[in-house]
Structures are given as structure tokens and as C-alpha cells.
């Protein structure tokens, strides 16, 4: 008989293994817990949103910075 997992264990597991292959017996139990626990589902979603926020935040290289880079490396076309 597999021991029941706790919410804290599930949360730790989500943080450790999000995006990894989840095939072990423990993982199956965790998936099962996730499907049935609103609390942990919300946690899972919030970790995903956290990652999404950082993914979406990007900066463009300014044209001046490109020119300064080429000058610094002495790679400007004469």
C-alpha cells in the first residue's frame, strides 16, 4: 500500500519536477493527489504562472548598444 502524500510533499515535488518525466510510483500518487486536491492544483498553476511571467519579460537590444558593441570589438565596417 502506497503511503498517502501530503500537500507539502506535492508542492515540493511540483517545484522540483515541473516539466520533468514523472513515471515513478510516487509520481503516480502525486498526479492522483493533484487531480483531486484543489489546493495543490492552484499551487501547480501558480508556479506555472510565475515561470510564464519571467518568460514574457524580455528586453530589446538598443541600436546604440549594438553600435557600441561593434566599436568595442573593433568589428565595425569601415
Amino acid at each position: 500500500m502506497i503511503e498517502k502524500v501530503t500537500c507539502k510533499e506535492v508542492m515540493q515535488h511540483i517545484c522540483e519536477n515541473l516539466g520533468e518525466q514523472l513515471n515513478s510510483e510516487k509520481c503516480a500518487e502525486i498526479k492522483n493527489h493533484l487531480e483531486n486536491c484543489t489546493h495543490c492544483k492552484e499551487y501547480f498553476k501558480s508556479v506555472e504562472i510565475t515561470i510564464e511571467c519571467f518568460k514574457k519579460y524580455n528586453v530589446e537590444l538598443p541600436k546604440d548598444a549594438h553600435r557600441r558593441l561593434m566599436d568595442f570589438l573593433n568589428l565595425n565596417e569601415e
Partner: protein, 187 residues
Amino acid sequence: MEENELIKRAKTGDRKALAELVGRYEQTIYNFAFKICRHTDKAEHIMQETFYSMIKSLHQFDGKSKLSTWLYRIVSNHCLMLARKQKGNSFVSLNDDDESLYTERYTADWSSIPYKETENEELKKILDDSIQKLAPDYRSVFLLRDVEGFSTEETAKITELSIPAVKSRLHRARAFLRKELDKAFLK
């Protein structure tokens, strides 16, 4: 032109090939440097140092990894070096026993977080402030694995950390950042 051919030419000192390689990766490197240091001037400085190192050590590049992976290693090192030079930085210390990382009490309304808006200044500030509390080696693991999409193995190679060290930094960083956003978006 194929990248391998460009690298071959750049290794002989062909300036046009070097300029082409720099042009292909400058945006990626600048963006990644910014994501670690959260400061545009510092990101520009790190980008310059990264490409200077690339040109200086290109003869050592053996082609076993992708050029982009090799550049990520260089840029990560420069970010760490810069962070070490800056005195007075204090970062949170995270360990697995920290119950508060996995707090079961929810405060934020996650559906209100404007995560689909890319230009939300309030959110950007929260993200900048949160990630800067993490030590740079935690930041680079989180950004490489979750944001840039490298595998755990690739992240370990780039950061020169063991796989267990990558995993433990990653899960603590995820839990910490999640908690920071949770605090910032209190119901």
C-alpha cells in the same frame, strides 16, 4: 552561411565572419544578461565582455556543444563575476527545511496577475525585485532551465554544477519566486 562555416572562418580571424556571429547572438546574450542582473547598463557591459571572451577563446571552441550553449556558459560566468565584485549585496538564504517556502496559506488572487501582458510596468518591477533577492547562481539555474528552456543536464553543463545541485537550486528558486509573487498580489 552555415554556422560551422562561419565559425571556421572566424577562427582564422575573418572579421566579417566574427561580426556575423556577434550579430546572430547579440540580442540573445543581451536579453539573458539583463534577466540575470536586471539592469540595462550592466547587461550591456556583460554582453561586451561575453563577445570579447568569445573572440579571444574561439580557437578553443571544439564544436562538441552548440555555439549558443558555449556562449550561455560565458555570459553566465561574467554575470557571476560581476555579482561577486559588487560588494554589499545580500541575498536570501534558502534551504529545503524552510517551511515558509511551501506555505499552504494562499493570499493572492492568481487570476488577477496580468501575466499575459508583456508591458505591465507594475508586474515588471515586482519580477525585477523578486529575482534580485536570489543569489546569482539560483537566478541562472532558474532562467536557463525554465525561461530559456535548457534541459537539466544542459543547465548543469552551462553552470558547471552537478545535476542534484541544479535540481535543488531550481526547486528552491521556483518556490521562492512563486511566494514573492503571491505576496505581491495579496488579495
